[in-house]
Amino acid sequence: MGNFSGGLNLKHNKHTTRYKPIKELPQPQKVILPLQQNLGCPNDPLVKVGDEVFEGQKIGDSSKFVSAPIHASISGKVVKIEKLPNPCGFDVASVVIEAGDGVRGKGYGVSPKKLGELTPEEIRKIVREAGIVGMGGAAFPTHVKLTPPAGKPIDTLIINGCECEPYITADHRIMLEWADNVIYGALALGRALMVDRILIGIEDNKKDAVKTLNDSDEKHHAGRRSPIKIVKVETKYPQGGEKQLIKVLLNREVPSGGLPLDVGVVVNNVGTAVAAAEALKHGAPLIKRVVTVTGSGIVEPHNLLVRIGTPFEELVKACGGLTGDAARVIMGGPMMGLAVSSLDIPVVKATTCILVLNKKDAQAYEERDCIRCGRCIKVCPVGLMPNFLADYAKLKNWEQVEDYNVADCIECGCCAYVCPSRIYLVQYFKVAKKELQ
């Protein structure tokens, strides 16, 4: 076991939803499905306005490798295909489907083959066709991760159950309630990669999940040797960053500018494992996901199972609505999430959480001059010097910004969190990275 330097002990704020079972939201009247919900290439629509579609039907796909198809999450009629706002802050071509009475889903049926009979290639194909992407928020197409290039042998699959961002409990509930699918999915992804070591990393503030998964693993293997090992890790932000988790579990460091596969590792989120299990067992495409709806601006927080494409508004309504002083809506956690300007935006594959903060929690801070206290340097899990990076970024001295390794920044937000001068450090780095691209 290794350790990573820096990081923070944050107030978890998970108590409001950690004991609340996942509640399925009734099918919405309308879904908005952006044709790009993954890192990589956008999809072309496979339907046109007026078409009737059924639940699970593929409605968008791309011939590019780094892509993942999109499926209709409800049965109904395509009423619109146009550019609409998505949670990432820009407009994306989206398919809008309105629920229709006449159209019924076909059901998916059970996959004819058992896991042991599937070849890695078949698993990759099913995972791709199901439109599965990284469910932890990054939304990188999973089948790409399962296809390591020649010359990069993979010996370990890590299933990420850290969920280190405050407030979010979706993965925690998934591990507690769908443990069998987590184990099944982990084994399937492991089979696709042909690894005989699978590590599931879970922060030690979720001991119940560790126990549940251990029980499920034991049941699954019934005395046989399991390739899975469930490892309790320290509760420390950003423990769930994949490079940090690899360092902690295997004491391997992903080289600067490199990927986990450079050190023989592939990392997948527990939600991704569950999605893979659903696709392999039942042929179900990725059309639903668990979203934690929480924060001081939400009346009654919940963990919801919702159709992809459901507008935020519907989720908020199901949680008792907004409080009177709700001020900021964030997709994702408070440290790395994206603030959105309206509730008309749909849930996408990467939506882990809808966090609404009230005025007090979401106060704006006035940026002051750096006092060189060095706190940002101490907490940076990457070993950067955020203070100098921000200085050079302000001066638009991109050469120095590059020399101070801005490209290695994981935008975890630790530096800005501790900055006593309240400098918007991450913002400067995001701008700088764009500039250097």
């Binding site: 408070p334 440290m335 603030a339 903060l357 340097i377 100098f388 501790v418």
Partner: protein, 305 residues
């Protein structure tokens, strides 16, 4: 309904700049209290004069320079407090006031204000006063009765005499207003270390270097550590955010350099004490230390092409 947008992180930690200033202020009250106890109310009045002049001159300077007035961030007041603590308790008020103006205007303001000054304002002002009024700046008094005497370091340099360790520890000796009581300084430093306002590398390296070098050179290491302005300098000056390096590695180098220079000045230089100049010299090296003492980048060692 439309919500306001801002970039992540959406939450911020509890510590802001004014918390830090208040904690430093509280920590400084301990050496100040010791100074008042040993040198009487004159010490308090001197401190008030210096602090007040610092705050006023900052306000006037910022007004004239058409900059935002920032006297309420506490930084000018702390500069004043720090300067008072390193002055002889009997220094004429007007000289102290000139030192205060020099600290805030010359050393800090003209370099761009808080965060941009190269030298520690209090230490640089003290050096200016020492150069301007060498006699007044080296006239020391005994605690309680205010009879003129020499500092232990001066006596050690000239006669080799070493006073009792307990008197040194408690502060019952001649010296600058707030430097004499090691006990009071340690209490203040303890507050700052526990609240993580300052960290250990610079003070530990500084005091450690002085102790070890003294031992190696055949001097009394305990006396070297307890006397002069070392404790005050190590905990309150060598830890100054603005004028000392930003990384742990850099702060360690900075502290070691201060320790080396202090020993050299004390044992081989013309002055009995070297803390003031050591830190000022290291202040000059801070930018270059910052440039080279970078933290280790994650994934850098095994970088493959």
């Amino acid at each position: 309904m439309s919500f306001d947008i801002s970039t992540s992180p959406h939450i911020r930690g509890p510590v802001n700049a004014s918390h830090i200033m208040w904690l430093v202020f509280i920590a400084l009250l301990f050496p100040l209290g010791a100074g008042i106890y040993f040198f009487g109310l004159r010490a308090l009045y001197l401190t008030l004069v210096v602090t007040l002049v610092c705050v006023l001159s900052e306000a006037i300077f910022q007004f004239l320079a058409k900059r935002p007035i920032t006297i309420f961030d506490g930084s000018a007041a702390i500069t004043g407090l720090l300067l008072a603590l390193i002055l002889p308790p009997t220094l004429p008020y007007w000289m102290a006031a000139i030192g205060a103006v020099a600290a805030v205007v010359l050393v800090k303001g003209l370099f761009g204000g808080l965060g941009f000054n190269i030298f520690n304002p209090a230490l640089a002002a003290r050096a200016i006063l020492l150069a301007s009024w060498p006699v007044a700046m080296t006239t020391w008094v005994r605690p309680f009765d205010a009879i003129t005497t020499a500092t232990p370091l001066f006596l050690y340099k000239t006669t080799g005499a070493v006073p009792g360790y307990l008197d040194l520890f408690l502060g019952n000796r001649a010296g600058s207003l707030g430097e004499t009581s090691v006990l009071a300084i340690l209490i203040g430093a303890g507050i700052l270390l526990l609240t993580r306002v300052i960290d250990w590398p610079a003070p530990t390296a500084y005091i450690g270097t002085v102790g070890i070098l003294s031992l190696c050179l055949g001097r009394d290491p305990l006396f070297a550590i307890l006397s002069g302005g070392l404790m005050l300098g190590a905990f309150f000056m060598a830890t100054d955010y603005v004028t000392a390096p930003v990384t742990t590695k850099g702060r360690f180098i900075f502290g070691s350099g201060c320790g080396l220079l202090t020993v050299l000045i004390r044992f081989y230089g013309g002055f009995p004490e070297g803390v003031n100049y050591s830190i000022l010299i290291m202040n000059m090296l801070t930018p270059i230390i910052d440039k080279y003492a970078r933290p280790r980048l994650f994934g850098m060692v095994r970088k493959k092409k």
